[in-house]
Structure formats: structure tokens, C-alpha cells
Assembly symmetry: C2
DNA sequence: TATTGTTATACTCTATAACTATA
DNA sequence: TATAGTTATAGAGTATAACAATA
């Protein structure tokens, strides 16, 4: 009796998620970026988006998005322009420098993930991935209102 | 090429950890408690501890611990007393009411975990648990400096 | 001097409300 | 009137610095 919550699967997930998140943020620090910047750049890789579209796709608040785009602009990774068709909108597009930063971040993040998953064999990683996908795809309460990293 | 970070195992872990954490916090809300209160109560279940001992065992900052103990005291779950042997220390002990609250929280958290793991069979849950334990026990950078829930 | 607990303070992240300009 | 973006502001959560009491 008296199952301690600490040590159970759900809590392990919380703790590992937290430490994985911290690990990824640490990996990105040399670029002066955080996870949320990368997530925006990944969306912008193919096509420009308005800020509100970026909000919808990331789940971020629009006031947070203003700050994130400000920071990406300051880093030279992104450009803001008035939309010609709807002058209320800012079209955000990725610059060449943004593409470079995105590539660098992918390298750093992949490396950090490899370190994180180092204790597992390739087959075990695949099994873990498959199990997590199953959890993530859960229909009721589908992990929707996520604290965005 | 161009592996998107989104969708990879490490990022799944971050997202699932976040949503699992939110789920647990939501489950505890009816008790007026948060995860960190439960973690402290679990430690106090067997023996009283000083605040600094609680800090060591939880990884929480001592200023944060002051607030957490304040809140638990206000809920009547915990009692602060001067140590007789070292009058600098506050001995924190769990009250009967704290024990009741801990029991209730265990029920709520177990229920929340069952919902979280619902998509998996019992065997799959065991496999997931085993994989997470392996990751958690990782020697280099052992998930130590964790954002405490 | 060092440690325990405390307070005041600051910093990050996030969200709410109010404003502007456009539609 | 509704929407896009912005600003100011406030609320959690956490951490740093300074302080009082005690060792």
C-alpha cells in the first residue's frame, strides 16, 4: 500500500519532460535562441505567416508572439512586413540568416536528443517513440492546452 | 532531410511531460494543493524534517520552501516547531489532516495517471515505465537540476 | 564565520485589458 | 463591429541578496 507518487510512470514523465526541456534550452543558448523561437522558425521555413496564424499553429498567446517575433527580428532571423491585401496584418517571413540559425539549431537539438536517449538502443528508442505517440494522440484531453515549452 | 524537431522523441517527451504535469495540477486543484505540496507531504509522511532537509530532498530553493510550508500550514497539513537541539531549525511535521490530504491526493493523482496512460495496455505501461526509468537513471546530467514541477 | 529561516527584490513566463489601425 | 498587432500591467514561479537568530 501507500504508493508513492514519486517514481510512478506519470511523474517520471513529468520529471523527464522537464529535464529534457531544460536540456534543449541549454543546447540552444549558444545561438541566443529558445525553443519557442525554433518552433516559429520551423513554421516559417516553408511559407511566411501572419502573427495570428503563428499563434494558431503554436498555441502561443498573441502578446507573447509579439515578443518572440521582436526577438527573432533583432537576431535578424525574421522580417516583418505589412500585408498588401490586409494592412492590419504583419507578414512574418524567415530571412536567409534565419534559415542558417534553424539549421544550426537542428544540429544542436539532435545532439541534445542523442545525449538524452543515450541509455537506450535504437530499437528501444523506436519503442519509446511509438509509446509516446500513442499517448500523445490520446483523444480525450489531447494535450491541447500545452505550456509551450 | 530537414527533420522537424516537432514530432521527435525528445520533443514528444517535453510536450507529454508538460501536459501530464498540467493534468496532475488540475487533479489536485480541488484539494487546494499543488504538486509541490504533495511532494513535501510524501517526505514528511514518515518523519519530520527541517526545512533545509526538505530543500535537499526536493531540490527546491529555501525561499520557495518557506512559501510552500506557509501554505501547507495554512491548510492545516503541517506544523512548524523550533528544534530543541538546534534552535535555528524549524522542525516540520505532518498533521493528521495532512495525512488525510495526502491520501486524497494519492487517489486523485492515481486516477489522473490512469487517464493519462489509458491508451496503453498494462504490458505497454510496464514497458514505458522501464524505458523511462532507464532514461531517468542516466549517469551524466542525471536530470538533477529539475524545475520542480 | 557559517547555517537556518525569513523578507524584500528581481527576473522570466504567461495572460488580461486597453489602445491603434485597419477592415 | 470585429480583427491584427501593440503596449502596459499583473500574476505565477523561481532565484538572489540582505538580514536576524543561532551555532
Amino acid at each position: 500500500m501507500h504508493d508513492r507518487i514519486d517514481g510512478q510512470t506519470g511523474y517520471l514523465l513529468v520529471k523527464l519532460g522537464g529535464s529534457a526541456g531544460a536540456r534543449f534550452e541549454r543546447a540552444l543558448a549558444p545561438l541566443g535562441m529558445k525553443g519557442r523561437h525554433v518552433r516559429v522558425l520551423e513554421i516559417l521555413r516553408n511559407d511566411p505567416r501572419s502573427q495570428s496564424e503563428l499563434c494558431q499553429e503554436t498555441g502561443m498567446d498573441r502578446t507573447t508572439m509579439v515578443a518572440v517575433i521582436d526577438e527573432l527580428e533583432r537576431l535578424g532571423c525574421v522580417r516583418r512586413e505589412r500585408s498588401l491585401t490586409d494592412r492590419r496584418k504583419h507578414v512574418v517571413s524567415m530571412t536567409e540568416r534565419g534559415g542558417t540559425a534553424l539549421g544550426e539549431s537542428a544540429v544542436l537539438l539532435t545532439q541534445a536528443q542523442d545525449e538524452l536517449l543515450a541509455p537506450l538502443s535504437a530499437a528501444e528508442r523506436d519503442r519509446l517513440h511509438a509509446l509516446l505517440i500513442r499517448l500523445y494522440a490520446q483523444p480525450p484531453d489531447p494535450c491541447a492546452p500545452l505550456p509551450p515549452t
